[in-house]
Symmetry: D2
Subunit: 139 residues, 4 copies
């Protein structure tokens, strides 16, 4: 199970090398993640209103080929691993026309209480959500 | 009364024209504004904790000369006009070495309640802050 | 003649007020502008390769209602005025579901040579492009 | 040998969790990197003018404690490893007042020709720069 989100690279996302700045990829990953969660039948906005947030613990990205302004890329998002406390997503950035791999990465998030920022057990707090994420996990 | 904040242009702030992207200037204005308010003996963080926020109503910017990566610029911030409901700041972006004017702009903000986002009367809510801003107003 | 581009507000575009940060709107305007130019049968990427760039001279934005994460907005872009030396675009940000006006703004750009950054006469340099922009101008 | 750069977290860098968005850390690393290179007696701007660019191959970041608006942090930058083809920097983000570790990360860059984007041998192309980086390498 994976989400595919098409993004067109913005001018503001370029830098003076003439390529998309590397700090933009985590933002694109986040767009993919938002759509992945929406695909499960819940919105991340709703999750936050329900008192759960997913701040990042870790981020990694490999830049394979540079992306340019107006390039259309597909952000492929999937769940690599989910536990009571954490979730890991993985991402691939692919040129829409050629299928060429431009970048790949991952993010690890903790489930935390949105008031206290303290860790929560997602299985206890929102068993339905936990089950959905577990089902979505790639094997 | 004005605040002068020195900023060094970041690589991530450039675009493929090789200049600082125009959407960065409002961010620099905000840095100047933060320091201006701090100069009055209060932090904007504290203001928000006290229940007042200053979302933007209006923004204007004239781009006179392009700023480049590693350029050091001075952000000159001053209060143009303050009322019970609104405040207008004005800004000038100046090359630190030459004094050359690179851009100038303004922002208008409403005073709102941080819970409800509804307008508040800053004079009633925080008369001390209002007086400080009034004193800081340029004539 | 106008372009309508749908944008979904990104998480990275929010700030601690819980709304989309004001510096994001110029980026959205730029996405609308890119699509407007593409609608004329040319890409902005191609324009730059042909030696013409459109750096900003001026930007203005009025913030009417706050936009939130995952909101879908329509960026309406049109040409307000074009001359040999300059072009002015205007923008409206509208909630996709309700049609509510969230913000409106404008940008003024000079036509410049991409090597020298000096003003060019777009009518002389690229008469076809000039004619297209003139035809697109709203009356 | 390391560079210490103080950065004050900007409002625009916050997100609706009320913390600095994770995509900002790579931008801060870049500010640290710029200052590290400047410390060696050369500017990154000059490097690019001399025909060498350092696009990212890889990025990693661990987020340990959230940073907030107006927090002052120190970006500690050092060279972990340099070869003819690549360079790896490492970074630590530390609260200025308490010395608390907020995040740590690394970036790997290839040396490439700024026209062709093809790999270059930095030792051959700019032996002086290579030697400086080698000397700066942490053991």
């Amino acid at each position: 199970m994976k989400n595919e989100t098409v993004i067109t690279a913005r001018y503001a996302e370029t830098d003076q090398m003439g390529i998309i700045h590397h700090s933009v990829y985590p933002v694109w990953f986040e767009v993919g993640r938002t759509n992945f969660i929406k695909m499960l039948g819940v919105t991340y906005s709703q999750l936050e209103k329900d008192g759960v947030m997913l701040p990042l613990c870790e981020l990694g990205c490999k830049y394979i080929n540079p992306v340019h302004y107006e390039d259309e890329v597909i952000i492929e998002t999937s769940v690599k691993k989910v536990s009571f406390a954490k979730i890991e997503f993985s991402y691939r950035v692919i040129m829409k026309d050629s299928g060429k791999l431009m970048a790949e990465g991952f993010t690890v998030h903790g489930f935390v209480n949105s008031e206290t920022f303290r860790p929560v057990n997602i299985k206890k707090l929102n068993p339905e959500m936990y089950q959905k994420l577990l089902n979505a996990q790639n094997d």
